[in-house]
């Protein structure tokens, strides 16, 4: 069996539909990861060990176990906890929580890059913790970490096809469905790979440019 252009052309629209789902899942997932990651980073810096210590362990645990098994856990074991969600929602939560552990490390590095004097000045001015975080520390910490977050956005994009295993029809899900339908796997899987390259290469060039621009500014 060799490459069939006509077949490839015919199935392209379905794969593009899948790509749209992949992009949607990525955007929702990264939003969750960015918000949750920030909370994890702040909790981890808590002066109360009863908060910081469990946070550190949860982050370590989620980071060092496979996303695939976590997705299975949410999707198959979730209902035992009364958590019955759609496949896409489950997938987005899985991606978001998994990547939140990565973004929390990114934020942590950003927060640590804020000079100690800024904290001391906030204390001296008697600012409330929420003001110190919201108006002093984070506005200085976050711009530094934007490129790193961009890299995780791209990494997450490449992990979205895992959602196909819990029945989400992303690029890979569509490719597999097409393959099983016509008993031709070469074209769908090859096109799926090419679609990933078509998005992730320009995206990584953009992130690299952002890095250069931020480095020049500081």
């Amino acid at each position: 069996m060799i490459w069939n252009w006509e077949f490839a052309w015919d199935i392209l629209p379905r794969l593009l539909d899948g790509l749209l789902v992949t992009v949607q899942a990525t955007l929702m997932g990264i939003t969750l990861a960015m918000v949750l990651g920030l909370f994890l980073a702040i909790l981890r810096r808590s002066e109360y060990r009863i908060i910081s210590w469990p946070t550190a362990w949860v982050v370590e645990f989620i980071r060092s176990t496979p996303l695939l098994v976590q997705l299975y856990f949410l999707y198959f074991a979730g209902p035992s906890f009364g958590l019955t969600l759609g496949a896409l929602t489950t997938g987005v939560i899985g991606l978001g929580v998994h990547y939140a552990t990565y973004t929390s490390e990114v934020y942590r590095a950003g927060i640590e890059s804020v000079p100690r004097g800024q904290w001391e000045a906030s204390t001296a001015l008697n600012l409330a913790p929420s003001t110190t975080w919201g108006r002093v520390v984070l506005p200085q910490a976050i711009p530094v970490v934007i490129p790193a977050l961009g890299n995780y956005l791209i990494a997450m994009f490449k992990d979205v096809p895992l959602l196909a295993t819990i029945t989400v029809l992303d690029v890979l899900g569509e490719a597999r469905a097409v393959g099983t339908q016509y008993f031709r796997y070469l074209e769908p899987y090859t096109l799926a790979g090419l679609l990933f390259l078509a998005v992730s290469i320009p995206a990584s060039i953009l992130v690299r440019q952002l890095e250069v621009r931020l480095a020049r500014r500081t």
């Binding site: 069996m1 098994v69 074991a77 490719a175 597999r176 070469l186 290469i201």
Partner: protein, 225 residues
């Protein structure tokens, strides 16, 4: 609810996970070094194909690569067994990320070391082997440890190409109703976590060994990390 036979199935899965991770790590480590050094080559004919390899594997999804190698490749080329397909895909993937780690660490070794090597009239290969690389290796270890953890996590994908690793066993036992879904997946997660902790510990021990009496190397390691 939980008998010895079940435990045996888990251990079978652990063994497969360890095997595929180890094979992939060997391939991935070798590729990281070769590709990382190729990226520093003065010849465009070496650098350019290397760039294609790195960008291709970093730019696509590991699961798509695996499916392609397992389901699409046999139609136009060789048919690989699940173990080989899994180890090769994960190894190629790790190599593309490791390549940047090696390149970065080699570049981070102070220029004076290269100059001293030239002054001592060492051949370029000896210069890399005895002077530059041992120092760069110290800086590579922490990110290398992270890559191994990523590899272990990625190894769960082989369950999708019928290889009976931890994830595969758990899915099978779940369908068989051998134990509750929550129990099964919790055990799987704990097993992966334990293996990951063992890898982290191993890398840390190796780090202690490599940095023994190497104050400069330790400083370089901190810079790169």
């Amino acid at each position: 609810m939980f008998d010895i036979g079940l435990w045996g199935r888990f251990m079978d899965g652990v063994w497969i996970t360890l095997q595929v991770t180890a094979y992939a790590a060997l391939l991935g480590t070798a590729l990281s070094i070769v590709s990382g050094l190729a990226g520093l080559s003065p010849y465009r004919a070496v650098r350019w194909p290397n760039r294609v390899y790195v960008d291709f594997f970093r730019g696509t999804s590991a699961i798509v690569q695996l499916f392609w190698i397992f389901y699409a490749l046999p139609l136009i080329g060789p048919t690989l067994s699940p173990m080989v397909a899994g180890a090769v895909t994960l190894g190629l993937n790790m190599g593309s990320y490791g390549s940047e780690v090696v390149r970065g660490a080699v570049v981070a070794v102070p220029r004076g070391q290269t100059e001293a090597g030239i002054a001592l009239n060492l051949a370029p290969l000896d210069r890399m082997r005895y002077v530059i690389f041992p120092q760069a290796a110290v800086a590579m270890l922490p990110p290398y440890g992270n890559l191994l953890i990523e590899l272990l996590k990625g190894s769960a994908l082989v369950s999708l190409i019928t290889l009976a690793d931890i994830t595969f066993m758990v899915s099978l036992l779940r369908v068989n109703g051998a134990a509750s879904t929550v129990t099964l997946f919790t055990i799987a997660l704990i097993l992966y976590f334990a293996i990951a902790q063992a890898i982290t510990l191993g890398v840390r021990l190796l780090e202690g060994r490599l940095t023994r009496g190497l104050e400069i190397g330790r400083a370089a390691g901190r810079r790169a990390a």
